[in-house]
Subunit: 454 residues, 2 copies
Amino acid sequence: MAAKPCIPKGTRDFSPVEMAKRNYIFDTIRSVYHLYGFQQIETPAMEMLSTLMGKYGEEGDKLLFKIQNSGDYFSGLTDEELLSRNAPKLACKFCEKGLRYDLTVPFARYVVMHRDELTFPFKRYQIQPVWRADRPQKGRYREFYQCDADVVGSDSLLNEVELMQIVDTVFSRFGIRVCIKINNRKILTGIAEIIGEADKIVDITVAIDKLDKIGLDNVNAELREKGISEEAIAKLQPIILLSGTNAEKLETLRQTLATSETGLKGVEETAFILSTLENLGLKNDLELDLTLARGLNYYTGAIFEVKALDVQIGSITGGGRYDNLTGVFGMPGVSGVGISFGADRIFDVLNQLDLYPKEAVKGTQLLFINFGQCEAAFCLSILSKARATGIRAEIYPDSSKMKKQMSYANAKGIPFVALVGENEMNEGKVTLKDMATGEQRLVTPEELVEALRR
Amino acid sequence: MAAKPCIPKGTRDFSPVEMAKRNYIFDTIRSVYHLYGFQQIETPAMEMLSTLMGKYGEEGDKLLFKIQNSGDYFSGLTDEELLSRNAPKLACKFCEKGLRYDLTVPFARYVVMHRDELTFPFKRYQIQPVWRADRPQKGRYREFYQCDADVVGSDSLLNEVELMQIVDTVFSRFGIRVCIKINNRKILTGIAEIIGEADKIVDITVAIDKLDKIGLDNVNAELREKGISEEAIAKLQPIILLSGTNAEKLETLRQTLATSETGLKGVEETAFILSTLENLGLKNDLELDLTLARGLNYYTGAIFEVKALDVQIGSITGGGRYDNLTGVFGMPGVSGVGISFGADRIFDVLNQLDLYPKEAVKGTQLLFINFGQCEAAFCLSILSKARATGIRAEIYPDSSKMKKQMSYANAKGIPFVALVGENEMNEGKVTLKDMATGEQRLVTPEELVEALRR
């Protein structure tokens, strides 16, 4: 007896229904990307470890799936090195390739390798799986899809504007109500500058984020605990208490950050993005949120994050501007801005809110019941005609018991069943059964096609 | 200066134009699979090595990409084992996962793991990349897509019939003229039986295949060289010289294989498939070809292969029936039949014959030239309206020199450009330029949308 097969932990099989739902998500995102002139690329699952290592921090290096070299991967290694059993170090001797960890680094590598073929600004999207050797847990997988769009080679803020329009359009199409949160790394830098505590910016945003929960006194106490001076805490008060409309928040920031050139630049960038989007009229709310600090060391300008309003779940989309994506591969000075939709979380949100449109998961429309070889031959020609008109149709391949064939139709959610016995064959007709109502009627092949196309 | 980045040998980046063409191929195949009631599944890129090893022969085991275990992969290994430097043996200690080598074994694993959720017959398709550590060469890659459809849990020959209809429909849609070759493993077994040389069947089919090139005498000489007896060679003559219509070939085989029960069963199976398909009227030719012997040890019934008629290239699609796909995972008695489209070769054929429909590779339809912040703001609202009607449109994000913006439109093959300067803004209109004819005209935003939608 063979051992029961299994799949690697943190990975998943996707069933037909799950695939239909996932395709609905990907197709929706893809079609909106197309509307905005983004073009698809794909890169290999495997990248050279020299491309991947050192790009995601020390922790990230450990989370890369590494692929063992083919052939004699021991060659060139001394016995001493082997017996050192230094797993991370020897992994780089045994392996020169790894699975991609995200779509951003492979994209940067792509831009540098293909720079002479590309026209800038280059607007690309990419929908592919990535792999991370993270500890698997609920909602976190070792293989998952990312759906990224980036514009590189343009520092115009219109790119930020259009990416937010994309986010707004995609979630409107899904029917998911969201709040689009926006921040700017330059504002955060400005805050650090005016209080003279550049290295404390993460502590500050974490503390500010707790205002609603713990109140101003406790936020200030936490800042004190983190070693921030009384003077700095005093300067931070208007920022901690920042409230009102986006315009009011921006005005407060303009005053508070008056002495920081970088901070003011961040305020003006944000003001441009928000006012342009307000003129265009988005369907979802936009909110300036200073506690938004994702990937702080990575982003250099605008930072975005999307929260679903009707489901308790983390960020379902994020992104921002980075100014030196390709520098690490020897091509400096290329500014870019991008977003990434979290397909797995969107899948969960659509499920929880039951928002999948019926058409998204529809499969076979018509099943011919198989009463034997002669009847099947009669059905096959009608089947060909139906398919030629675009009707998704099947014949049950075996002349099994009626009950088994009807169970098959039910299990696959097939709405119509065609029955052809001797009587029908003699008349050149088909009995068409509506599985929802149970209603049956005798129709010609032409009427059958007509009924199904409606 | 950073090292110039590269990708692992045998892998590829796909550019926007290549992606559009590949999506056309996948979408065409996918839509035909849907017409026939096949449902999509996806399986993880990584499978347990215990699932993959031993399924593709000794050579195949070597060609699996193995993934190094996370953490301390040396634990449990003695110094002696390490110093043995036995690369293949230690690979199985260092690694417990590998990248899938094809879609068939993961599918078998899927069927066994999900047997209780599935309704049989289960008609699934799967379009995903596979990885093989083959020596890369022209047209052979280490990462490539397979597009498989299989029916499991039914031994009805209607499945074979429908798979051939799928092949016929797909290539008709592509506009590629093909010959669909069909054979049957049972006929080959029958031939081996009647001549008493069961182990020589591959030598025999290889020799027969050369008839046109080297003539009967040389074919017989080659059979003699391979150690086949004079008596057997005499019995083989009608099979070597097999010719005429499919019906004539079947009649000859019926007589020649009269004493082989298995052989006759193969003849009758083939006769049913061919006659049913002839009644349905395929667009492409069907040919019984005894030299077709792909994966002989794998298939147990019908064997298919598709050859393009107008391009010199190997088989572009293949498949057949197998009777024990899931037995190796402890689920015996499941018969299946499947086909696999060779996407990379189809890509080459479509390129060589220049058969890609224009719509397949069309991208952005309209580019707004950016004359500055004020003009851009005016364009953005027209842009939103155009996109809302489904027009794929962009604005050049920077107010760069006109020439640069026009080059961008040309490089992306954008057919229409919209120009909005002060005059246009005052009139609330847009100058629309047709990039093919150079013609320009002043239009209202509504006329613009109308013109683009035509």
